[in-house]
Symmetry: C2
Subunit: 110 residues, 2 copies
DNA sequence: CTATTGCGCAACCAAATAGTTGCATATATA
DNA sequence: TATATATGCAACTATTTGGTTGCGCAATAG
C-alpha cells in the first residue's frame, strides 16, 4: 500500500479534514459532522493520515482527539523548494528583460 | 474524472517527470528513457499533467516537447500558506516560551 | 450491572487508476 | 513512394481507493 504525504493530500475530503483539525484537535464524530460522509469514512481517512504521520491521536476517556502534525506539512514545502528556485529565476530574467527594454528606450532604440 | 493538481502530484512517477522537465522541455520518448516504464505509460502521465494544466506541449516536427507550467506549481504553495501561518505562530510561541524561561532564570527562579 | 456511546476494524463493493497491448496518424528518411 | 520513427488513443486488466455495513470492545451513564 502506497502511503505518503502526497497521496494523503490528493483526496479533497482529506485536505478538508487537514484544514479543519489544523485549528484544533477533534474527534472523528465531530469531524464527520462537518462533512456529508459517515463517521467510518472519516475514520478511514484519519487512518490514512495517521499512517503517513500527518496526524496524531490522543485518547481522552472514550474519545480520541486527532491533531494535525503540522511540521509534517513542511515536507511538501521542501519538495516545492526545488521549483521555487526556478520560478524565482524566471522572475529575475523577466526583471532583467524589462530593465533591458527600459535601457534601450532611453537610448532611443524603441 | 477527478483531475486536480493534488491528484496529479500524488503519483511518484509523475513527480519525477515534473522534476525532470522542470529543467528543460522533453519529448515522451526522452522522458521514458529516464524511467523503467513504457513510453505509453509516460504518455498517460503526461496527459494527466496536461489535463490539469501543469504541463504544456510544443510540437516540433514529429516530436512533441513537454514543458512544465511552473506557475501552476504555485497553487500548491498557495494551499500551504494557510498552514505556514500556523507553523510560524508555533515558532513564535516557542520563542516567547524560551524568552520567559530565560527571564525567570535571570531572576533566580530556576 | 445494563444500556448507550465513541470508536476501530474487517469484509465487501463500485469506481478510479496505472499499466499493457494494439492500433492509427503524421513526419522524416532512403 | 516505401519504410522507419514519434506520438496519441482506445480497449483491456490488475490493483487501489473511497465508501458502506456490520461487528466487537472499551468507557461512560443510568
Amino acid at each position: 500500500m502506497r502511503r505518503d504525504i502526497f497521496q494523503a493530500i490528493a483526496d479533497p475530503t482529506r485536505r478538508a479534514i487537514i484544514a479543519l483539525i489544523a485549528l484544533q484537535a477533534m474527534t472523528p464524530n465531530a469531524i464527520a459532522e462537518h462533512f456529508d460522509t459517515s463517521r467510518q469514512a472519516v475514520s478511514k481517512h484519519l487512518r490514512v493520515l495517521t499512517e503517513c504521520e500527518l496526524v496524531k491521536q490522543t485518547q481522552q476517556g472514550r474519545e480520541i482527539y486527532y491533531e494535525l502534525e503540522i511540521s509534517k506539512m513542511k515536507e511538501i514545502d521542501k519538495w516545492l523548494n526545488q521549483f521555487r528556485k526556478i520560478w524565482e529565476e524566471r522572475f529575475d530574467n523577466l526583471d532583467k528583460y524589462l530593465a533591458k527594454i527600459q535601457k534601450e528606450r532611453k537610448h532611443g532604440k524603441s
